[in-house]
Subunit: 449 residues, 2 copies
């Protein structure tokens, strides 16, 4: 189904919702759309419509739809259910998806849910839950198809044919020892073209190292991208096979990782629900505004130091935002580049000094270029050469300061374990504001006194 | 290979480069690392080291490494080659990867390359090149394994076994008619568990619609994500099979799409090379600073209107950046949320008005909250109640303006075909600066005259 077809689908649904044609909506939700598409419709509906849509979904689809929703929306829907209801709709999910849903539950409901679950399922879920959500263990599924290395290709084929179906995204069988230790993988494409009489051991692939359950999920994503994997085995510290990770879950990690920098730089959470209700949104945003207010007050305090000078030359008040703003823009460009470079794993200690010099040279050159332009405008505007010299000097200085801060802040923040995307932009603006106002007004105080 | 192992690998390489131990580096590049890992090393090296590394790679690996590099770095390396050299190293690549590389070449070299290519290859490459890079046609490979619907499962298995190997990422065979029209797909997992005597037609999957070659690549990504696909067939307007798209290429689209918003909002290109040389970087950044300078001058001009008032009450100059800054921050949060929502396909006409009201209410509420705080501080600081009232009013107004601009700008820009991530932040700052300064200084002029 193309997205444009889906778009009209959504418009139709919106109309149907408005006119209360629930029969028709129920049919579309449960029969025409896939669970992932229903999840998308729910995510892009305001809160009231969301509730209506959710209630129109058949119980047997609820689990699939639920696991396709963003964390925030999931938590909202789950907050209205008790353990028995949650169990009923999640029982049929993959282990990792079930674990993801369970982690959105309040602690008491989660415990209750695990208590009433059947024993085998609980063991599986608890194993996945025992690893943090953002590690390989938290991403894995337990639906592996395993074989022994010493059987023949023909026997392997016969063994597979005894299955009614093979789990989705199975591109290889996992070869394990009698004690379930990981040995290698046998891609289906290889199995299908091999001589039936040779053994699995002779054709299995052992170059690809299995993934340790404690590996962070962004490193898992790098492995999948670099090796073009569809699925990969996960092992514990003793080399025993625990499960496998499939590319569909890795794609979610990649999307979230990439969203993270964008959203964090604006003080938003990457799971942020676009249609969250007013109160929740207000609370979350208030904090960010408060932090930025401190920055703004620091800048004001710097200006306050030079009240007398401004009183003497009012033109300074007119021009000072230009200095701060140019430094802020140049600094943000560097900051964004470095944060992206860190996320891609490009920027590290060994190449940081090259990057810092490049940025400072670029800052100085662009500073000079635009300083001349601004100086010319200022001189013509206020018929005052001094103010042109002052603003030119302070723009060059502030652009170099912005380049330095934009490079060093993310490196330093990462080194002390603070998320550069979250704290970087606030700190950067503080620095370029303070340096900008202080240099410009300070120089003016010297020149005009 | 874990990324931490790779990191030490990189540190070692950097040391080896410094001490000129090229033998050792040559060995690591050509024997210990995969092409994707070599590409990553090159990407995170400054220009000079890059050239050295590239020269140490064996010719037979150069093609694989090249296609794993970012567009910018690719173009840089290709600029030093002629058509014969490019052909030699790219001949063995997948059709879509070869087409990607060719598109980085200057026009004359590209034509020369196509001229000296063998006929069959040229036909394939030209077919991929005939579709824009950012469509399904530009993403596809021509390495499909096809079968007819009327043969039995047993015959299909025998047919496959005649292949020496099956292309990587083959999770299904594609069922086509005698005239190569697309009919359906047969997942390998299904083939392996089916009764050998029934026909392909009985077990093939026809629910998944094939992808049209002209579909934009971000819609392809949505399809892959929603349907958890590993590969999907691509057809032309007549329903004839052209090739297939595989998840590894879709992952690149997802990563680039997500990077696009982040980088564009800072006026950077998503293909931007972290270690681009000074001159290239300076030129690209200069433009962005110039555009932002216009914004800054507009803000200055607004302040200039009120020079007399500022001359009377210097405290205004000290406090005015707070009003502009708070509006800018609040507006950026809304803008980022809406741009992300657009990229995910959540925000569209039918839910835009709900979003606009929510944002305006949130803006007003947070405006009120922080207006009170700022007013209190201002009154204590300057011992002046009037200034408190003025700043409180203008903060509320500017936060609402920021919320409106943050919602409406990306919607409007998208409607007229301008990239909201690129133009949005500049326009937003212009609006919040102008509204902020004008309201604050305008109100002050009324109150103090």
């Amino acid at each position: 189904m193309s997205t444009s077809a889906q778009r009209t689908q959504f418009e139709k649904l919106a109309d149907a919702l408005d006119s209360g044609e629930f029969q028709q909506i129920r049919f579309v939700l449960n029969h025409s759309l896939r669970p992932a598409e229903v999840a998308r419709l729910i995510e892009k509906s305001p809160p009231k419509e969301r509730q209506i849509l959710w209630n129109l979904i058949n119980t047997d689809l609820e689990g699939e739809v639920l696991q396709d929703l963003g964390d925030d929306v999931q938590a909202e829907i789950l907050s209205r259910m008790d353990a028995t209801e949650v169990l009923a709709i999640t029982e049929s999910l993959d282990t990792d998806d079930m674990a993801d849903v369970i982690q959105q539950l309040p602690n008491t409901v989660m415990k209750e849910l695990l208590r009433i679950m059947d024993k085998q399922n609980r063991k599986r879920v608890e194993q996945v839950l025992s690893y943090p959500e953002d590690t390989a263990g938290g991403l894995m599924n337990t639906d592996t198809v395993t074989i022994r290395p010493d059987i023949s290709v023909e026997t392997a084929l016969r063994y597979i044919r005894r299955h009614k179906e093979i789990p989705e995204m199975t591109d290889s069988l996992i070869v394990v020892s009698r004690k379930d230790s990981y040995i290698g993988i046998l891609p289906l494409t290889k199995l299908l073209v091999s001589d039936p009489n040779i053994t699995v051991r002779e054709i299995m692939v052992t170059e690809i190292e299995p993934i340790s359950a404690t590996m962070p999920d962004n490193e898992v994503a790098v492995l999948f991208e670099q090796h073009d994997l569809v699925s990969a085995p996960v092992i514990d510290d003793d080399g025993r096979l625990l499960g496998r990770i499939t590319i569909d879950d890795v794609v979610d990690v990649i999307r979230e990782d990439a969203d993270h920098s964008l959203m964090s730089m604006a003080g938003l959470d990457e799971d942020e629900d676009t249609f969250a209700p007013v109160m929740k949104t207000t609370r979350r945003r208030a904090l960010w505004l408060g932090i930025n207010l401190i920055t703004a007050f620091v800048a004001s305090a710097v200006i306050g130091l030079f009240e007398e000078t401004i009183d003497k030359v009012v033109a300074l008040a007119v021009l000072m935002p230009i200095v701060a703003s140019m430094g802020g823009i140049a600094g943000s460009q560097t900051l964004t580049l470095v944060i992206r470079g860190q996320a891609l794993g490009h920027v590290e200690k060994s190449n940081a000094s090259w990057l810092l010099s490049r940025e400072m040279i670029v800052g100085a050159m662009n500073g000079l270029l635009w300083a001349l332009v601004v100086a010319a405008v200022a001189i013509v505007w206020f018929q005052d050469t001094t103010i042109g010299i002052i603003i030119a000097l302070s723009i060059v200085i502030n652009l170099i300061a912005g380049a330095m801060a934009g490079t060093l802040l993310p490196l330093g923040l990462k080194a002390v374990g603070i998320d550069p995307a979250l704290a970087g932009s606030v700190l950067l603006t503080t620095i370029t504001d303070v340096v900008g106002f202080f240099t410009f007004l300070g120089l003016a105080t010297m020149f005009y006194s």
